[in-house]
C-alpha cells in the first residue's frame, strides 16, 4: 500500500477573508504512485495551485487545512516548520510559473544552484558545483560551465525555466511539482522543455505533479489526469480515458472549447462554457459546476460524490453513470453563415505598410521591426503570429499610433499615418482602434464601464447628447453579451472575460474600420477565450471592420484569420491566405511552430521539430536569414550570408527562404 509517493485524503483548504470564509480546495483525495505522472487541469481559480501549495505547506496564514497529506507514508500536515525544511526542495521540489521571479537576480546562477546541494545534502563546495553542472547538463543546457557564472537576467526565459528545473532535480527528489512552468514561455521553448521533463522522469524515476490549464501540455507530460473545478476533483483517470471518453460535463466542455488545429471560423463556432468560476463558500454542497452546466437537473444541487465509472476512472456527476454517448465531443455548434459580400478577394487596400522599421533606444539599439511590407484588405482579418520578441506587437502599436515608425510608411485609406498619436487627426484615431492583451490594465480601474465606453464616443465621434450616448452604450453592451447593470460597475468588479468584452465594446462603439487586437485572448482562460473569439468573429461579420489580430497561438490565428503573416525577428517569414499558409509547402519556421503546438487529441501524435537556440540578438542588425541559426532545414552557408529571396507560391502567398531557390 505504501509504495505511493503521495496520498491525499479528504483535503480541505479554506481561506478566511474579509468577504467570509471560502473554500479553495474541497474534499480532494488523490494518490500518486512511484514514478507516476499526474496532470492537474482546470480554469484559473479552481484550486490547482492551492492544492500544490498545500502539499508544500506554503499556504498563507489565513488558510486552514483539514484532511491528510501523506508523503511516502509520512503525514506532512503534522510536521513542524523545521521538519518541513527537510522535505521542501530536498524530497519534494517545486517549479513555479515565472522563472524570472523565482531566481534571485543579485546572485549568480551557479551560486544559487550550489546552495541547494550545500544546504540539503551537506556537500562541500566542489561537490556541490559538480552536482550543479550535472543537473544543468541533464536539462540539456549547453555550456553549463559558462552558465553558472552568469546572472539570471543574462539568459533567456526558456533557459531560466530550465535552470529552475535543474535546481529542483539537484537533490533527486521523489516528487516534483510543476506549477504551469511553461505558460509564460513560447510554444517552441515549451516543446523543448516538455521533452526534457519527459526524459528526466525516465532517467531519475521520480513522480510528477504537473499543473496546467492547457490540455495539450497535460497530454504531453501526464499519464493520469485530474480535472479540478472550483476546488473539487470532478474527474480523474488515465489520460486516454479522460481525453477520449470524458464523462463529466466540465471535462467535456473544457476539451471542446479549445480551438484545435484545423478548426476554422467558416465552419465551426467554438464551444464555450457560459458563466465563470464562482467563489465557493465553505458550507456549500452539491455539484460545484451546477450553475454553468448545460445538463443539470434537480439532483445536482443536492449531495453528490465521486464514483468509479471505468477502470481507475472516476467522475463526480450523476450523468457519469448514464453512459451517454461520447458523441457530444463531436457535436459542434453551427456557425453563423458568412455573408458572401465580404470583399475578401478585392484588391482594395485599407492599410498598406511599406518597408516599416522600428528601432528602440538611442545608444543601445534594439531592432524590433526590420522592414515589413504588407497590405490589409478591408473587412478581412489578418493574423500576425510569431514568438515573443518577433516584433508583432510593435507593428500593431505603430499601426495604432502608440509609436512612430523609425523608417517606412504606413498608408491608411489613402492617408499617410506613419506618425505618432499626437499628430494624427481625430478621424484617423477614430478609424483605428486597439484592443490590448490585458483588459485589467487597459481599462481605467477608477472609471465606471459607462465612463470608459462613453469617453471615445464623446471625444472622437462627437456624440455629446447624454441620453443618446447612453442608449448606444447599452446597445454596445448588449452586443458583447453584457447587460445594462454593467454600466455602473468598475473594472475590478468584472471577471477577465467581462473586462475584455468591455474593452471590445469600447473599441467598437465608434465604428472603426480597423481594429488592432494585440493578443486579446492570451490572458484569458480557454473557455473564456472561446467565447471572446466567437464574439470577435460575430462582431466582425456584423460591423465589417478589418482586424489585425496579433497572437502567439497558431490555433487561435488559424481559427480567426483570413490572411496569416508569420513573423520572426522583425521580418516576415511567410504571408498568405490562411489555407495557403497552413498547408505545405511551409517556411521552415512556420513548420516548426506548427509542430510545436501541443496536440489536444491523444490519438494524434506528431513529431515535434525541436528548434533549439535563441532568437538572434535584437541589438545587432541581422544579416542573412534571421532564422538561420535555429533552422532545421538550413541549406548551407548562404543562409547565414544572404537575406533569403522571396519565393512566390501564388498571387497572395509567399515566403522568404533559400530552400526553393537552392533546390532548382
Amino acid at each position: 500500500m505504501n509504495d505511493n509517493i503521495l496520498d491525499i485524503n479528504h483535503l480541505h483548504v479554506r481561506f478566511e477573508t474579509f468577504d467570509g470564509v471560502f473554500s479553495a480546495v474541497n474534499d480532494v483525495s488523490l494518490t500518486l504512485g512511484h514514478n507516476e505522472s499526474i496532470g492537474i487541469i482546470g480554469e484559473s481559480g479552481c484550486g490547482k495551485s492551492t492544492l500544490s501549495f498545500a502539499v508544500m505547506r506554503y499556504l498563507a496564514n489565513n488558510a486552514s487545512v483539514d484532511g491528510s497529506i501523506r508523503f511516502k507514508g509520512e503525514e506532512l500536515l503534522e510536521k513542524s516548520e523545521k521538519e518541513m525544511e527537510a522535505f521542501r526542495g530536498n524530497r519534494i521540489a517545486m517549479v513555479f510559473q515565472n522563472p524570472y521571479s523565482s531566481l534571485n537576480p543579485a546572485l549568480t546562477i551557479g551560486f544559487q544552484l550550489d546552495e541547494v546541494g550545500i544546504h540539503h545534502q551537506k556537500l562541500s563546495k566542489q561537490k556541490a558545483r559538480q552536482a550543479t553542472l550535472e543537473a544543468l547538463g541533464m536539462m540539456n543546457i549547453g555550456d553549463p560551465q559558462g552558465i553558472v557564472r552568469r546572472y539570471p537576467h543574462q539568459v533567456s526565459g526558456g533557459i531560466q525555466q530550465r535552470i529552475c528545473i535543474a535546481m529542483a532535480i539537484l537533490c533527486r527528489p521523489d516528487l516534483m511539482i510543476l506549477d504551469e512552468p511553461t505558460t509564460a514561455l513560447d510554444v517552441t521553448t515549451e516543446a523543448v522543455i516538455l521533452d526534457s521533463i519527459k526524459e528526466l522522469r525516465e532517467k531519475l524515476s521520480m513522480s510528477l505533479m504537473y499543473i496546467s490549464h492547457d490540455m495539450g501540455v497535460i497530454n504531453k507530460v501526464a499519464e493520469h489526469v485530474v480535472v479540478m473545478y472550483n476546488g473539487e476533483i470532478v474527474e480523474r483517470g488515465p489520460k486516454n480515458q479522460i481525453f477520449e471518453n470524458p464523462t463529466h460535463p466540465y471535462t467535456r466542455a473544457l476539451i471542446n472549447c479549445m480551438p484545435r488545429g484545423g478548426v476554422v471560423k467558416e465552419n465551426t463556432k467554438l464551444n464555450t462554457i457560459p458563466g465563470y468560476v464562482r467563489r465557493r463558500g465553505a458550507l456549500e454542497s452539491g455539484c460545484p459546476f451546477v450553475d454553468r452546466c448545460e445538463k443539470r437537473n434537480d439532483t445536482c444541487e443536492s449531495k453528490y460524490g465521486i464514483r468509479e465509472v471505468g477502470e481507475r476512472h472516476f467522475a463526480a456527476c450523476d450523468r457519469a453513470y448514464a453512459t451517454d454517448v461520447p458523441d457530444i465531443l463531436k457535436e459542434k455548434l453551427v456557425p453563423r453563415p458568412r455573408t458572401t459580400s465580404l470583399a475578401l478577394n478585392s484588391h482594395k487596400e485599407l492599410l498598406k505598410i511599406e518597408n516599416l522599421h522600428k528601432v528602440y533606444g538611442a545608444r543601445r539599439k534594439v531592432y524590433a521591426v526590420n522592414g515589413i511590407d504588407v497590405t490589409v484588405h478591408p473587412e478581412s482579418v489578418i493574423g500576425v503570429v510569431g514568438e515573443s520578441g518577433c516584433g508583432k506587437s510593435t507593428t500593431g502599436h505603430m499601426v495604432s499610433g502608440l509609436y512612430k515608425p523609425t523608417k517606412g510608411t504606413i498608408m491608411f485609406d489613402g492617408t499617410d499615418i506613419s506618425i505618432a498619436w499626437n499628430k494624427r487627426s481625430k478621424d484617423t484615431l477614430k478609424k483605428i482602434q486597439l484592443i490590448f492583451q490585458n483588459p485589467g490594465r487597459s481599462l481605467n480601474p477608477s472609471h465606471t464601464v459607462e465612463q470608459i465606453i462613453a469617453r471615445p464616443m464623446k471625444r472622437l465621434a462627437n456624440m455629446h447628447d447624454a441620453t443618446e450616448r447612453r442608449q448606444r452604450i447599452v446597445d454596445m453592451l448588449k452586443k458583447v453579451d453584457l447587460g445594462k447593470e454593467y454600466l455602473e460597475k468598475k473594472p475590478r468588479q468584472l471577471s477577465g472575460g467581462e473586462q475584455q468584452r468591455v474593452a471590445i465594446a469600447r473599441a467598437l462603439s465608434i465604428s472603426p474600420d480597423l481594429i488592432v487586437c494585440d493578443e486579446p485572448t492570451s490572458a484569458l482562460d480557454v473557455s473564456v477565450q472561446a467565447s471572446v473569439l466567437n464574439l470577435l468573429n460575430d462582431l466582425q461579420l456584423e460591423t465589417h471592420a478589418a482586424y489585425m489580430f496579433i497572437s502567439h497561438d497558431l490555433n487561435v490565428i488559424n481559427y480567426l484569420s483570413d490572411y496569416i503573416m508569420v513573423m520572426y525577428a522583425g521580418k516576415i517569414c511567410e504571408y498568405g491566405k490562411r489555407d495557403e499558409v497552413m498547408a505545405p509547402p511551409f517556411h521552415p519556421y512556420t513548420e516548426a511552430l506548427l509542430s510545436a503546438m501541443p496536440e489536444v487529441d491523444p490519438t494524434k501524435q506528431k513529431d515535434v521539430i525541436e528548434i533549439t537556440g535563441q532568437l538572434p540578438d535584437p541589438a545587432k542588425k541581422p544579416k542573412g536569414c534571421p532564422f538561420a541559426g535555429r533552422c532545421h532545414k538550413q541549406v548551407g552557408e548562404i543562409c547565414e550570408r544572404e537575406y533569403p529571396p522571396m519565393v512566390r507560391l501564388s498571387d497572395t502567398h509567399y515566403y522568404n527562404c533559400h530552400i526553393k531557390t537552392m533546390v532548382e
Partner: protein, 276 residues
C-alpha cells in the same frame, strides 16, 4: 465602510490612534470654551504650581498662566498649521511630481536636480533660515515655509506613483484616443494614485507637527502671545525643577499627537493599499 471596520478589528492599535486624534480635535474646537482660564490670563498668586491647585488642572507656568488653557489653545494653531501644510505641500507636490514624471526627459531631470538641491538642506534648517530672515512667524508664513520644505518629499512620491501608472495600458488607450496631457494626468491617472498620495499626506501631517513644534522650540515658531507647544517646552525649561509639568505636559501633547497620527497613517496605508 464595512471593510474599514473589518480592518479596525484586525488593528486595535489604530483605534487608540484615532481616539487620540479625535481627542485633540475636540480640544481644538471646544477646549477653549471649556477651560475656565484663557491662555494669557496670569494668576499672580499661583505661579509654578502643580496640577490641581486653585482650579488649574495641569498647574501653571512661571507667569501663573494656566497650562491646560495654553495647551488647548496651542492645539488650535498647531493643528491648523499642520493640516494646511499637509494639504498645500501635497497639492504642490502632486502638480510638480506629476508634470515632471509625465513629461519626462529634460523637465524631469531639471525637476530631480532642483529637488535634490532642496533636499540637501534639512527642512528644519531651511525653515529656520527663511523664518529668521522674514522675521515674521504668522500662521500663514509658517504654513507656506514648512510646505515648501516638504515639497521634495511629496513631489517625489507623486512622481513615483505616476511613473508606475504611466506604463499601464489604460494610459496608452487614452493616448491613442487623442486625449490631452491634462486629461490623462488628472482624470485618468490621478484617481488611481490617491492611495499612496493620501498616505503620504497623512504622514506629512505628523511630520509638520514635529516641525512646527521644533521651530517653536528653537524660537522661530509662532510668536507670543499665541501659545505654541514647542515654545512652551523651551520657555518653561528654567523652571523644570519647580514645575516639571510645565515642560512635561506640552511635550506629552506633541508626542501623543505625532504618534497617534503616525499610527493612523499606517492604518490608512493598510486599508488603501489593500483595497487596490
Amino acid at each position: 465602510m464595512k471593510y474599514v471596520l473589518y480592518q479596525l478589528k484586525k488593528h486595535p492599535l489604530a483605534i487608540v490612534g484615532i481616539i487620540i486624534i479625535i481627542f485633540w480635535l475636540i480640544a481644538a474646537f471646544f477646549g477653549p470654551s471649556m477651560v475656565p482660564f484663557t491662555h494669557t490670563q496670569m494668576d499672580s498668586e499661583h505661579q509654578m504650581v502643580g496640577p490641581g491647585t486653585n482650579g488649574h488642572v495641569l498647574g501653571t507656568d512661571s507667569l501663573g498662566r494656566d497650562l491646560l488653557a495654553r495647551i488647548v489653545y496651542g492645539s488650535r494653531s498647531i493643528l491648523t498649521v499642520a493640516l494646511m501644510t499637509s494639504i498645500v505641500s501635497t497639492i504642490i507636490g502632486v502638480l510638480l511630481g506629476f508634470s515632471a514624471g509625465y513629461f519626462g526627459g529634460r523637465i524631469d531631470a531639471a525637476f530631480l536636480r532642483s529637488m535634490d538641491i532642496l533636499m540637501a538642506i534639512p527642512p528644519l534648517v531651511l525653515s529656520m533660515v527663511v523664518l529668521g530672515i522674514l522675521g515674521d512667524s504668522s500662521i500663514l508664513s509658517l504654513t507656506l515655509i514648512v510646505s515648501i520644505a516638504f515639497v521634495p518629499a511629496t513631489a517625489r512620491v507623486s512622481r513615483g506613483v505616476l511613473l508606475t501608472e504611466k506604463s499601464q495600458e489604460y494610459v496608452s488607450a487614452a493616448r491613442i484616443r487623442g486625449e490631452n496631457h491634462l486629461y490623462i494626468m488628472f482624470v485618468e491617472i490621478l484617481p488611481n494614485t490617491t492611495g499612496p498620495i493620501i498616505v503620504e499626506a497623512t504622514a506629512r501631517f505628523a511630520y509638520s507637527i514635529m516641525m512646527v513644534a521644533s521651530l517653536g522650540f528653537l524660537g522661530v515658531g509662532m510668536q507670543p502671545p499665541t501659545p505654541d507647544w514647542g515654545m512652551m517646552v523651551i520657555e518653561n525649561k528654567p523652571i523644570i525643577a519647580q514645575a516639571p509639568g510645565a515642560v512635561l505636559f506640552p511635550a506629552l501633547a506633541i508626542a501623543s499627537l505625532v504618534i497617534a497620527i503616525s499610527i493612523f497613517s499606517d492604518f490608512v496605508s493598510k486599508v488603501l493599499i489593500h483595497e487596490r
